[in-house]
């Protein structure tokens, strides 16, 4: 467990998740542990939305956290939020995976847990979820990414802007358009 992350660290606010580079390495480990605990499922959800493959999503998620762990001492808080930094790494890892596989990010398949959950629910709920999936498929891949970052990963508009490399207002505008288009697509499918 040399240099590993403790398991008893509680999740704190994102602004204090990562220590500065000048602090002791142990401080950086503790801060990274907080970031990991608070972001593990969110990163997986975002990556799974991009790569649309459970095994690939797990591999990319692990790769993203490995890269972030190696670079944890180089994180500069003045350049953005730690979650935005982490999701930027995860985005690059996911896009590398897509690039290597020669596949594009298509939200066409149903996640396994979603299918199994739909079997126990009412027909109306199942249809609504199917409409959501259809609506996501109708979106542009970049719009689907914005939806995933906002509603699967829970990032703020400022964090989304940092991740995708646009201005905050531009990110908000793009997100609004994506939500509008998704609603239209979902309502059209119902």
């Amino acid at each position: 467990m040399k240099g590993g992350l403790g398991r008893s660290t509680s999740v704190n606010s994102s602004s204090t998740l990562v220590a500065t580079a000048e602090e002791a390495p142990r401080e950086a480990d503790v801060a990274f542990d907080r970031l990991y605990r608070s972001s593990r499922d969110d990163v997986y959800a975002y990556v799974a939305s991009l790569v649309r493959d459970e095994a690939a999503a797990e591999d990319v998620t692990a790769t993203a956290f490995e890269r972030a762990y190696r670079k944890r001492s180089r994180f500069d808080p003045s350049r953005g939020e730690p979650r935005a930094w982490l999701f930027g790494i995860a985005r690059n890892a996911a896009l590398d995976e897509l690039r290597h596989r020669g596949r594009q990010a298509e939200l066409t398949a149903e996640p396994a847990d979603l299918v199994s959950a739909a079997a126990h629910e009412s027909a109306e709920a199942s249809e609504r979820r199917l409409a959501i999936s259809t609506g996501l498929t109708a979106l542009d891949p970049r719009q689907r990414e914005l939806i995933a970052l906002k509603f699967f990963a829970g990032l703020s508009n400022a964090e989304i802007a940092d991740v995708v490399g646009v201005g905050e207002s531009n990110a908000g505008t793009k997100l609004h358009r994506a939500v509008t288009k998704l609603r239209e697509a979902c309502n059209g499918a119902l």
Binding site: M1, R40, A57, A62, R99, L114, R129, P141, V179, L182
Partner: protein, 410 residues
């Protein structure tokens, strides 16, 4: 089926389809996080990819420190190599400059430096020659009419004697030029200066050893002065004439008497003035022979008196030339040596054999730092462009990867 009433309802429904990691994967990732995310094996990766992954996994401090140490080591080694090889280059350049004495190689540890000029002037004084007489051809020609008083201008004296020689018919010798290049035998004037360091109590004994060494070399002590006293006051000075053939042995004997603080030797090629003097002497003899013939054929007293006057003047001229030739031979055969015995810590500032002190240490340190700086600049001149190319390649690769990533999303 009713459509979504608003965005909030749709977003709530959207969050229900959020992908979740499997419990097995989540537990495995937690374990790896607790272990500090150890590098995973890449069974399907090529060796190149595995090496790249290993390099990327290295923290910067793990390779920056060895790289810095390697660079400093390279600079240190290059500095040592340059500093060690530099004296060889100096020796080579000195050897190239010392080509004046071609036929007679300089004795061991002979030095050619600014002090050679002062050393060259000494033999003329020792030999008792006219003041200002030197070994160079121009100065020597100037000295001839001064000593003979034969003409007001030196060039006139030489040209007149040369023309008279040509008129009398002796064969003209080969052109000697300023260095007498056509002469097989060369006359070399040698001189030396040496400073010995001794304890005040040993000055007397060392002076006696100097006399013994001079006598052993069949040399002549022109002047000597031995004084006692405390360190710095006690000392001895010697002006010596040593047979040139034994100069090396004599200097070696002097060096064995006490600590050598400085030693300078110089040579001067006096072949040209010697050869020219011989030519003038032959011309003068031919002129005398011609005047004797004229004297025998003189019919009147006035004609006879005029020829006798010319003959007398020419004989004085020949005598002067013979005296000059004797002096030149003396300069070639006897070497002037200035020897001084010092006491105390009076280091000479110009001696290569002098000791090593704080001043020399600072000088050496500055020299080494200058070499290190030069090596660093040369290294940067080599590494700089390569680093710039690597930086541009890295930036281009980064932009290309970013473009490929965005294309993958599109």
């Amino acid at each position: 089926m009713e459509p979504f009433k608003d965005d909030a309802e749709m977003i709530a429904e959207l969050r229900t389809v959020r992908p979740l990691p499997s419990p097995v994967f989540a537990a495995d990732l937690d374990e790896r996080a607790a272990a500090g995310f150890p590098p995973r094996s890449l069974p399907d990766a090529s060796p190149h990819e595995q090496l790249g992954a290993w390099l990327r996994a290295l923290p910067p401090r793990r390779w920056l420190l060895p790289a810095g140490v390697t660079a400093l080591g390279a600079i240190a080694i290059a500095t040592v190599v340059v500093a060690v090889s530099e004296p060889k280059n100096d020796s080579a350049s000195i050897a190239q400059l010392s080509g004046t004495d071609r036929s007679a190689p300089p004795p061991k540890a002979e030095r050619y430096d600014a002090h050679a000029g002062s050393a060259k002037a000494h033999p003329s004084h020792a030999a008792g020659a006219g003041t200002g007489v030197d070994s160079s051809g121009v100065q020597f020609e100037t000295a001839v009419p001064t000593t003979t008083g034969h003409a007001s201008a030196p060039g006139e004296a030489l040209s007149s004697s040369a023309s008279s020689a040509a008129a009398s018919g002796p064969s003209r010798p080969a052109e000697t030029g300023p260095f007498a290049t056509d002469t097989a035998h060369r006359n070399i004037e040698r001189s030396a200066e040496m400073v010995l360091g001794a304890e005040p109590a040993e000055v007397g004994d060392d002076a006696a050893k100097v006399f013994d060494a001079v006598h052993a070399s069949d040399g002549i002590v022109l002047r000597s002065s031995v004084s006692g006293g405390a360190a710095g006051d006690a000392g001895a000075t010697f002006e010596l004439l040593i047979p040139s053939a034994k100069l090396g042995d004599a200097l070696a004997a002097f060096s064995a008497i006490a600590e050598v603080r400085s030693r300078h030797e110089a040579t001067d090629d006096i072949t040209a003035p010697t050869v020219r003097l011989d030519e003038h002497l032959r011309d003068s003899r031919a002129t005398i022979d011609g005047l004797l013939v004229q004297l025998a054929g003189a019919d009147t007293d006035s004609e006879r008196a005029e020829v006798e006057a010319e003959l007398s003047a020419e004989r004085r001229h020949a005598a002067s030339l013979r005296s000059q030739a004797t002096k030149l031979d003396r300069r070639a055969n006897l070497s002037r040596v200035s020897l001084r015995i010092e006491t105390g810590a009076g280091w000479t500032s110009d001696g290569a054999d002098s000791g090593w002190g704080i001043g020399e240490a600072l000088g050496d340190a500055g020299h080494i730092l200058a070499i290190a700086a030069a090596v660093t600049i040369v290294g940067l001149a080599i590494v700089g462009p390569l680093a710039l190319i690597a930086l541009l390649a890295w930036l281009a690769n980064r932009a290309w990867v970013r473009h490929r990533r965005e294309r993958a999303l599109s």
